[in-house]
């Protein structure tokens, strides 16, 4: 490495390297986005290896010993502005985590995940777990290996949980969930004893094209910047981004369930608004990235539930909705709609819409 004299040069070098690593990671994200939305089926094998190579390269760039040395040099400086210092600290933390995995392992895991995505799609279409079973076993096995390589104190899943929420543990989450289990069951019991809300009007026929047009208007009204992002259709709704100025959401449409698309749009836009709001000046640094997946999900849930299921929101939105679907909502008003979308009933997954789950 060249002989660097002052912190500004050193931090400039840090930025240059980390922005290039980000370029490769975001490039991989573009390939993944395409894989889930537009890629033809026979492209799966070459795409899996292309993604594996990008993952391997990003890993190699990041875990280069020159990066470790640069970060240590920067940590020794005490003249860095607070934002720069924080970036370096967080990068150092990530560096230590990343160096625990080998390039070969990163490559194998990336390739296996891509391939298993294809069999998951097939399995989902054929409604056959058998198609996905073998690949799922491979993925789980690699995740177990990853936990071992990353290291943990109490529980293997702690190592993986740490990737989503730093410092979070199985023990901590078990305590949280066990403490809310009984109160929730009590509440559900009371709800079940009450007359049930009629939400059957949400399960009428809502044509695909009109739902799509409504979804686009909805995400625009929520503040999603369509010059810095776009919405497409995918098997499974998700949000991804290639910078704060290029954030992609996806949705899906069930013509016989109004809930499916609508709350996936609101949920994903919650994620997207968080990404679009990140500082573009911090491209490639930890401060330009989401803080944690917990924080990310808090943003999507805030919009989905606190806004998207609120009375105030639909008092404002319902007339436009009724105008777009006059036949379906002719007997409803904002109040009955508000009640219906907040109906509580137990199901195997968290949302009312049968198949609505999220990448995050």
């Amino acid at each position: 490495m060249v002989n660097i004299q002052n912190s500004t040069d050193l931090y400039g070098r840090y930025l240059e390297l980390f922005q290039k690593i980000a370029d490769v990671k975001y490039a991989a994200a573009v390939l993944q986005w395409d894989q889930e939305i537009y890629m033809p089926v026979k492209g799966a094998d070459s795409r899996a290896r292309q993604l594996a190579t990008l993952s391997e390269m990003a890993h190699n760039m990041f875990t280069d010993e020159k990066i470790g040395q640069l970060l240590q040099d920067l940590l020794e400086r005490n003249d860095l502005p607070v934002n720069e210092r924080r970036n370096v600290e967080l990068s150092w933390y990530d560096f230590q985590k990343e160096t625990k995995l080998s390039a070969a392992f990163v490559r194998l895991q990336s390739e296996t995940t891509s391939r298993s995505f294809q069999s998951w799609i097939e399995a989902r279409k054929a409604n056959s777990f058998a198609i996905f079973e073998k690949d799922l076993a491979l993925v789980i096995d690699l995740k177990k290996q990853e936990a071992d390589q990353r290291g943990y104190e109490a529980h293997p899943y702690d190592a993986l949980l740490n990737e989503y929420e730093k410092g979070c543990t199985v023990h901590f989450l078990d305590e949280v969930f066990s403490s809310i289990r009984q109160p929730l069951q009590d509440m559900l019991g009371k709800i079940r004893q009450q007359p049930q809300v009629n939400d059957s009007f949400l399960q009428q026929y809502f044509p695909r094209e009109e739902q799509w047009a409504y979804g686009m208007a909805l995400i625009k009204s929520l503040g999603f910047d369509l010059e810095a992002g776009r919405q497409d259709m995918s098997e499974h709704p998700f949000t991804t981004n290639f910078s704060a100025s290029d954030v992609r959401v996806t949705t899906r449409i069930d013509e016989h369930d109004f809930n499916s698309m609508t709350w996936s749009c609101i949920h994903e836009v919650g994620h997207a608004l968080y990404e679009q709001g990140l500082p573009t000046s911090e491209y490639g640094t930890p401060l330009g990235e989401y803080a944690s997946l917990g924080i990310h999900e808090s943003q999507s849930r805030l919009w989905e539930n606190n806004v998207g299921r609120s009375r105030g929101f639909w008092q404002n939105q319902f007339p436009a909705l009724q105008h777009r679907f006059p036949a379906q909502f002719k007997n409803e008003d904002a109040a009955s709609f508000y009640k219906a979308i907040n109906k509580v009933s137990p199901s195997l997954i968290r949302t009312e819409a049968d198949e609505l789950t999220y990448h995050f």
Copy 2:
């Protein structure tokens, strides 16, 4: 590098390295594809740097001195099967060309080209050359620098021409074109003295959705494998590929000109059939790539003109076409249609459709 004992190991190492370089190049192609079709406008800056990083990395991987050594070691072997030997020879030729450019230059050229693409799009929409002028000047200046770096004997453009068609020169092309100039002018003169074919029925209103549906049916009928490719809309029709199993074509639609989409579909599918026909087993090697852009264009023109403007093709296709657009073609038959699509008239660019040009 590890000590390698036999040609099989050595060639295996060659394959491994060149397939990874191909992964990075194809990843860049995915980013370019997205840039031209789906990317939101504000994504331009981050996309330009992501593409620049991938170009720089592919260049660095390829020009690594270990690659040069490996190729030389392989060239010294006389026990390589003929296909493997040919791959190594072609890679060695490419290696020598690529090492003439610096990584910084490759990065700058990639970034400048991406940015100029954005201003070209803007300029095209605003029909204003001024918007594109400055970026175009930058691109041309870099192309001149590239010619100097690559080297040439007679004419700077020879260096650039060699990238498209090995060994081709300005002098050779000038001879070709000057020898056909007079005979073509004579032929055009004779055509102009004849009564002109009426092709005005091709400039009626052809709704976008129906043209799209027709274009999809058309490319399928030509043998384009939609499980190993797809078609999208773009400002400018082009073909790209991310392997022989994932070939993407684009088209555009002019609702007042039937020619525009139809022959761009046929032309691009000509390119695409060539790419889909390349051997998947040669992924990442020269034998898995198109031979030259001249050969590539020969395939697109074969389909566009020799097939797509032939009497036999439309004798077969015309009934389906008439069925899709009954009002527009009610007074026509295969013979009058065949005549109209072969009407010859001088224009500023090669095709009858005003704005139809090609990436290649």
